[in-house]
């Protein structure tokens, strides 16, 4: 199939135009370890390829270099019929830099170029006109005005595009001149054909006067982040419950048709119980992706990054690390994906490696249990705050504190990619725009698919592994299963933490996912369904006599330890390094263990 390539700078409305031309069926290819994403879809009889957005063909960071290589390679391919360059009509100078470079590259390979002048509705709204014919003549390639949002001019544009792609020879580029000095030339062209910036920017600056003001901006920031955080729980919880309900009814349906025995238990406990509990997180990941997408497409994300930059730069992080950190309090997986917006690869890596220290929602059941065991419910702190609430706050705070400390250390010692330059913080503040549902919808769906693809296989293997260890020898209880035997055998490891083998087994099992801890401990304390009866389990643990210092150490262990193989799988996919991801798994495990032992030992002395 002949191909049409689509290129343009970030924020030029390329994804929406792509969606309008191809409909919702598309394929996304991700490169491991970098943010480069290529989307393919069908437009009439052509394949439309949405290449990664870039500011220039001179790539700076590793991601940019790879994105640019991909653009160069795709343009040279014989199947490529033509190149479509998307320009932002309200920011002509900026989008022409990349546009001119791509045009010159396409001409070298004898491929015709068409320019789509997007956001023409916004130009009209401020009462300006762009002389597209003049611009077309000056550029030496057709320029078609359109708005992918209001659909102005889209029909004519599509016709023109298909005509050109159908007969690329007719639009021969021989003898066409391309301008090498893109930076200079784009300024000249923008001066001649562009619109009055002040009019367009007046609106944006007025909103910014409010959004970036020291006081109103600060309040807005807190409000936005609070809403974001709340909606993760309020929107995602019912969805997660319905997925859980669905899996349960599916399990009930299949267990009705399988007879009692190993196969029955395997399907019920390993497949539905283990693997199913991982699918429950898919809605949460999608909701979070939706909210971050809304923030990004509306233009607020850049402002949030600007406001957070100064305080976070003390710890070797970027302003853009804030949203991933905040998201990490719901789930590390979408948070790691959100780190893609960080401009500097070094800071992006540090952010990704410290996100797992944020107290994600899977730790909540564990915290809830241990807080109930250790902190009396009727006590208040300073007479106002509920002591249990304060304990929760303390745990969250400890996670953030650890993340900042580790960031600082990583910033000092992590080797930088010396061959590639790190971009200093210079961030475009895009126009405020109402997000369009189509590109958002795509992103949300893709985040779910990517999570299942990357984390699914490993979660499956671990759930089967843990099930086998806990199930065999046949007809054994968890106590005398292989897992129980291992627990007894390695009890000396947990003794310095002040814990016996039962906690050891529950900790081992929670390496699949943290929330498993509560159910496993419940089974070992002879309480079925402890997930629903945390208070009942807490009473038994109290009666059993868990020392305060050992309990505190265990809580801190759960703050620090990276007990989530899905996160490791995601880190591996995003950093491109399996050694780094499993290394982090081990390192956080050791750090957590050291902290727990230290707290227990010191607490015992006091």
């Amino acid at each position: 199939m002949q191909r049409i390539l689509m290129v343009g700078k970030p924020n030029c409305g390329k994804s929406l135009l792509f969606n309008q031309l191809t409909g919702l069926r598309q394929k996304v290819a991700n490169y491991p370890g970098i943010t480069v994403e290529i989307t393919r879809g069908k437009c009439d009889k052509f394949e439309l390829v949405d290449l990664p957005g870039a500011y220039s063909l001179n790539g700076l960071t590793r991601d940019e270099v790879i994105a640019v290589e991909e653009i160069r390679r795709s343009v040279a391919e014989p199947d490529t019929a033509m190149v479509l360059v998307v320009l932002d009509a309200t920011r002509l100078a900026q989008s022409l830099v990349m546009g001119l470079q791509v045009q010159s590259l396409a001409f070298k390979h004898n491929k015709p170029v068409m320019f789509a002048l997007n956001f023409i509705d916004e130009v009209k709204r401020v009462g300006e006109v762009i002389d597209t014919e003049g611009l077309s003549k000056a550029l030496g390639s057709p320029v078609l005005p359109l708005s992918a949002r209001s659909l102005d001019g889209l029909h004519e544009f599509k016709q023109g595009l298909l005509d050109m792609a159908g007969e690329p020879e007719r639009y021969a580029t021989e003898g066409a001149t391309a301008h090498e000095e893109a930076a200079e030339r784009s300024q000249e062209l923008a001066k001649e054909f562009g619109i009055q910036h002040d009019i367009v920017l007046k609106n944006q600056n007025r909103i910014d006067n409010f959004m970036l003001n020291n006081w109103t901006g600060g309040v807005m920031f807190i409000v936005v982040m609070f809403v974001l955080f709340q909606s993760i729980f309020t929107l995602a919880t019912p969805l997660m419950d319905s997925v859980e309900g669905f899996i349960e009814s599916l399990a009930a349906g299949t267990s009705a048709i399988t007879s009692e025995g190993v196969v029955h238990d395997f399907i019920n406990d390993a497949i539905f119980g283990g693997f199913g509990s991982f699918l429950v997180f898919v809605p949460q990941i999608m909701v979070l992706t939706l909210i971050i997408g809304l923030l990004e497409d509306s233009g607020y994300l850049a402002r949030a990054a600007l406001m957070c930059h100064r305080p976070l730069s003390f710890f070797g992080l970027s302003g853009r690390s804030f949203i991933p950190y905040l998201s990490g309090h719901a789930c590390a997986i979408p948070a790691i994906m959100a780190a893609r917006t960080i401009e500097s690869p070094h800071k992006r890596l540090i952010t990704m490696l410290t996100i797992p220290l944020m107290s994600c929602s899977a730790r909540l059941p564990v915290y809830a249990l241990l807080v109930a065991v250790l902190v009396p419910a009727d006590k208040t702190f300073l007479g106002v705050f509920n002591m249990q609430g304060a304990a929760f706050f303390g745990l969250y705070f400890f996670g953030i504190f650890m993340a900042l400390v580790v960031s600082q250390i990583l910033n000092r010692f992590l080797p930088r990619d010396l061959e590639k330059t790190d971009m200093p913080f210079i961030l475009e503040l895009p126009t405020y725009r109402l997000p369009h549902w189509k590109p958002l919808f795509q992103r949300v769906i893709n985040s779910g698919i990517m999570f299942i693809k990357r984390a699914g296989p490993i979660i499956f293997m671990v759930s089967v592994g843990i099930w086998v260890l806990g199930y065999f020898p046949l007809n054994s209880t968890l106590q005398d299963s292989w897992l129980g035997q291992i627990g007894h055998f390695i009890e000396p490891v947990f003794t310095p933490m002040g814990l016996d083998w039962r906690y050891g087994v529950a900790i081992l099992m929670s390496f699949l996912a943290r929330e498993v801890f509560v159910g496993a401990l419940g089974t070992l304390f002879g309480l079925e369904g402890a997930d629903e009866d945390v208070a009942g389990l807490a009473e038994r643990v109290q009666a059993d006599g868990l020392a305060t210092e050992a309990g505190l150490g265990l809580m801190l262990f759960y703050v620090v330890a990276l007990q989530c193989v899905a996160t490791v799988a995601m880190l591996k996919g995003e950093s491109g390094s399996s050694k780094l991801s499993w290394g982090l798994y081990v390192a956080y495990g050791l750090l957590a263990y050291t902290i727990a032992v230290a707290v227990n030992q010191i607490g015992g002395l006091l």
């Binding site: 220039s56 006067n209 600007l306």
Partner: protein
């Protein structure tokens, strides 16, 4: 004076971008419109030494101290 010293709502022309910066970064800045002879306007100053916001051609950028202090400007009326 440097870009970092530019007050709110004041305009200036870029006179020089620190040549000790990485060549690739200088090239990128020039593609963004930040090079000798271009005019910039400070839109707002951040609190506590946070990034400043400037208007450059048709776009608005936030730029941090480390970079802004390496760009020489001459103020215009």
């Amino acid at each position: 004076m440097t870009l970092w010293e530019l007050g709110k709502s004041k305009s200036a022309t870029v006179t020089q971008v620190d040549t000790s910066l990485d060549q690739q970064i200088i090239a990128r800045l020039s593609e963004m419109g930040l090079s000798q002879g271009r005019s910039v306007q400070c839109v707002r100053r951040g609190p506590l030494g946070g990034p400043m916001v400037m208007q450059l051609g048709g776009s608005v950028f936030a730029i941090e101290h480390d970079l802004a202090s390496r760009i020489q400007i001459s103020p215009t009326e």
